[in-house]
Symmetry: C2
Subunit: 145 residues, 2 copies
């Protein structure tokens, strides 16, 4: 599961991706149109701006826009700062496990994390917006979010 911050970030980014490029939308309007908690979303947007995912403009008619095209913007980029980069490698079998030759339960965690990261990095906002909604052949059957 993704954190709520990540979900909000994705919803906002997708919303912005559907506007014409270069158009800015204020935090208040984004929150309104998406039905999200106004102040919290604002905080999330500020973070995305600091991280270079969005570009902010202050003052009247200010707001946020994507820092790059929706074809270039991956889900991983949007979500990166809200998710644990590499989760602690806990051995489920109780610590009898070297890092260079991990046990099976340990391995599964690593594989999962790699697969997850790969998929998040390979999916763009454009993919999400243009893929047919129902009954399509699935290249990414076991993805997240």
């Amino acid at each position: 599961m993704l954190s709520r911050s990540s979900i909000y970030a994705l919803q906002a980014a997708l919303h912005l991706a559907r506007k014409e490029e270069g158009v800015s939308v204020s935090a208040a309007r984004l929150a309104e149109e998406l039905g999200l908690p106004r102040e919290y979303l604002a905080k999330v947007l500020r973070r995305l701006s600091r991280e270079g995912v969005l570009v902010s403009s202050r003052g009247v008619y200010g707001g946020y826009r994507l820092a790059m095209s929706r074809e270039e913007m991956t889900v991983e980029r949007v979500v990166r700062s809200f998710e644990e980069v590499d989760p602690p490698r806990i051995c489920l079998l109780g610590g009898h496990c070297h890092t260079d030759e991990p046990c099976s339960a340990h391995l599964r965690r690593l594989e999962w994390n790699e697969a997850r990261k790969r998929i998040l990095a390979a999916t763009t906002l454009d993919d999400l917006l243009t893929e047919p909604a129902v009954g399509r052949q699935t290249a990414f059957v076991s993805t997240d979010f």
Copy 2:
């Protein structure tokens, strides 16, 4: 990611699965041998007992044992009570989405959750204990935990 409670539950269950069937181990000893927080693990074990995953015996020489064989005990059973059963179906595209015909971003969530649940339900403690650690062919590449 699984919650810490789930990780602890799995570690304890795997530890018990490696003992002979019918042998009980106290919470204190489990915590000691696994290097986990004693009191918190005790609370997790109590929950597992209430849920029918473990069988508890009180008094001196009491403790916990698996409620079924390690071939029958799935990861999903162990983890069930600590994880969200069916996470809220949020549409990433902003709510313009019926439940009977969800949008693509929505669909991916459902697919992911189904795949995750299937895999957790299909893996037993015995699988984790008997699978070769390294260089095996992976039927479950994108699994969790």
